[in-house]
Amino acid sequence: MTMDRRSLLKGVAAAGAGAAVTALPLEASTPKPEIPPDAFGMLYDATLCIGCRACVTACKEANAMPGNLYNPPEDLSGDTKNIIKVWHRDQPDQSYMKAQCMHCLDPACVRACMIGSFQKREFGIVTWDPTKCIGCRYCQVACPFAIPKFQWEKAMPKIVKCELCNHRINDSTGKPMPACCEVCPKEAVIAGDYRDLLAEAQRRIDEHPERYYPAGAPKIYGAEDGGGTQVLYLAGVDFENLGLPDLGTEPAGISAAAIQHTIYKGFVAPVALYGILGAVMWRNRRSGKEEE
């Protein structure tokens, strides 16, 4: 194909514009996510957990989900919102791990959900709205903790995950009463105001720095990880062993959002492109002649 200079220039200009737009510096890293004033959360101390799994049965009962410990669940699923797993059974450094939704301060699922079915609602609890969800499962792709589960075996499936028992509100305090925290015989998992829990976790690691990981200068997982989560973890072993990934301090999904925002900021680029395209074609038509 022979291309005269004008067409070539047009083509290069278009490609260049495209490249320039995507190479624009991304938004500066966001400040720490806001903590809701009524933020409610949980603190799980793996060094206290004895693996009795009372919390698993209590969760099932509180949420009217089928299943029990005669046929115990292997993982979170469409009918299991909370589970106890074990790392290194039989070894001296064995640790149990309670897995459920982390209720992130800046959740990836909320960023992903097209129609706002996943939102942080009262108490900062990340909840799922069945009246909006179309079941696209983008939230499953987005969550760095692999929490939202889908009811594959149902014809009318839901997305299932812990919602901090926000349907069980304590009459006197007006706060949720997570069933898992109520039944734990060792108070390995406790619920309460997020800031109080953060302080309590800090108190524990200050008083017993040798008991927690990393020994000597222990860390509270969730204080900053992934932008911060309302469910905090203390453990005696490396958090990565327990399935809690190293996410840095940026909320998950923020770089993807940054790209979108950069390209579509104020919708300027699309409108401009539309204008250019329209103008070019108008001019072509006007000139009457076409190129061969």
């Binding site: 049965t57 029990n68 669940p73 993982d75 074990v86 059974r89």
Partner: protein, 368 residues
């Protein structure tokens, strides 16, 4: 009262009351049932006893509290101990014998000679090994030497109690005497171990009766424990298991859960890692007379590494399969269709490639 009277043992003198044949047979049947033998075996036991075929038993005592002997004496209705002891010939027993000193050592020597290769050697108590075993000596000989001597000529060796089975209390850290169980002193011999603190007497009785009647030992596990008694953990046949599975736990002694009989796992029950049959056999022949039955967590007295080792209120290790690993295996879904799917995909891609080749080649011909 003469010392002799006080220390008279029923086995040495026949008691006036006696027991009628029906009761005796019943007792043998019960004993047979307790160890999983059939009724016919029980009858055979009774027969053998009547014919006076009584194997010799030499009972050694080392680092022990005599609890296991005491436990044995608390079996069944009055006169049963006497009856059971009529099924065997107890030729040496430091607690039950009236004799002492040179007299009893002579009895030991004679019994060993008379029944060499046939007697049952019962060991009660741990054997110290530190400093050549000087911490337990009888008649000038260390426990180690006595056991090696008596054990070498025995037809069967039974360790009764945790101390004789694996060291028990004397072996608790720091184990200052180097206490070990009989299997460590006689590693080449088959030793039946009946751990417990005390051992459940019926576990012992069943083993002895089987040997006495049939000359065989019950099936043993890798630690020498009879499988009929130690084949399961307490957790596996605990009456409170349903509470465990439903997540109902006593948190503190005397709280509501404790009073309702909830599971004691949160109080440190070692049932999940302790092999024993206390939950089905009980003690003192009183139903419910066993630790968990009365509301105290099991502390694993039969299990080496658990009893006298782990803290009483420390959580036990739950068995395999109780918890999934951090990243469980999720098998492929709809696996059955995969072969077909692969074939179908392959066929389509193959057909597409062939078709496009044909078109490409034909295209050349059409090209203007």
């Amino acid at each position: 009262m003469a010392r002799r009277d006080l220390w008279e043992t029923p086995s040495m003198e026949p008691v006036g009351e006696g027991v009628d044949r029906r009761d005796f047979t019943k007792v043998c049947l019960m004993a047979a049932a307790a160890v999983g033998l059939s009724n016919s075996a029980g009858l055979k036991m009774a027969e053998a006893a009547e014919q006076g075929l009584k194997p010799s038993v030499i009972w050694l005592h080392f680092q022990e509290c005599t609890g296991c002997t005491e436990s044995l004496l608390r079996t069944s209705a009055p006169g049963l101990a006497e009856l059971i002891l009529d099924l065997i010939s107890l030729d040496y027993h430091e607690t039950l014998f009236a004799a002492a000193g040179h007299q009893i050592e002579e009895a030991l020597h004679q019994a060993m000679e008379a029944n060499a290769g046939k007697y049952i050697c019962v060991v009660e108590g741990a054997i110290p090994t530190k400093d050549n075993g000087i911490y337990c000596q009888i008649a000038g000989r260390t426990a180690m030497d006595i056991l090696k001597d008596v054990g070498s000529k025995a037809g069967a060796i039974i360790s009764i109690g945790s101390c004789a089975s694996w060291g028990g209390i004397p072996s608790a850290a720091p184990n200052p005497t180097g206490a070990v169980g009989a299997p460590e002193i006689l590693p080449d011999k088959t030793i039946v171990t009946i751990p417990g603190c005390p051992a459940n007497p019926y576990n012992f009785l069943g083993t002895v009766l089987q040997y006495a009647t049939f000359g065989t030992l019950p099936e043993l596990d890798d630690k020498g424990r009879p499988v009929f008694a130690y084949g399961r953990t307490i957790h596996e046949h605990c009456p409170r298991r349903a509470h465990f599975d439903a997540g109902r736990f006593a948190r503190v002694y005397g709280d509501e859960g404790h009073r309702l009989g909830y599971c004691l796992y949160a109080l440190g029950c070692k049932g999940p890692e302790t092999h024993a049959n206390c939950s089905v056999a009980h003690f003192n022949e009183i139903p419910g007379a066993w630790p968990i039955g009365i509301g105290h967590p099991c502390f694993g007295c039969t299990e080496q590494g658990v009893g006298f080792t782990k803290f009483v209120h420390e959580a036990a290790t739950l068995p395999d399969g109780a918890h999934p690993p951090i990243e469980p295996e999720h098998g492929p879904t709809n696996a059955g269709w995969y072969g077909v799917a692969g074939l179908a995909a392959g066929a389509v891609i193959g057909a597409g490639m062939m078709a496009s080749k044909k078109i490409a080649d034909a295209g050349e011909e059409e090209s203007s």
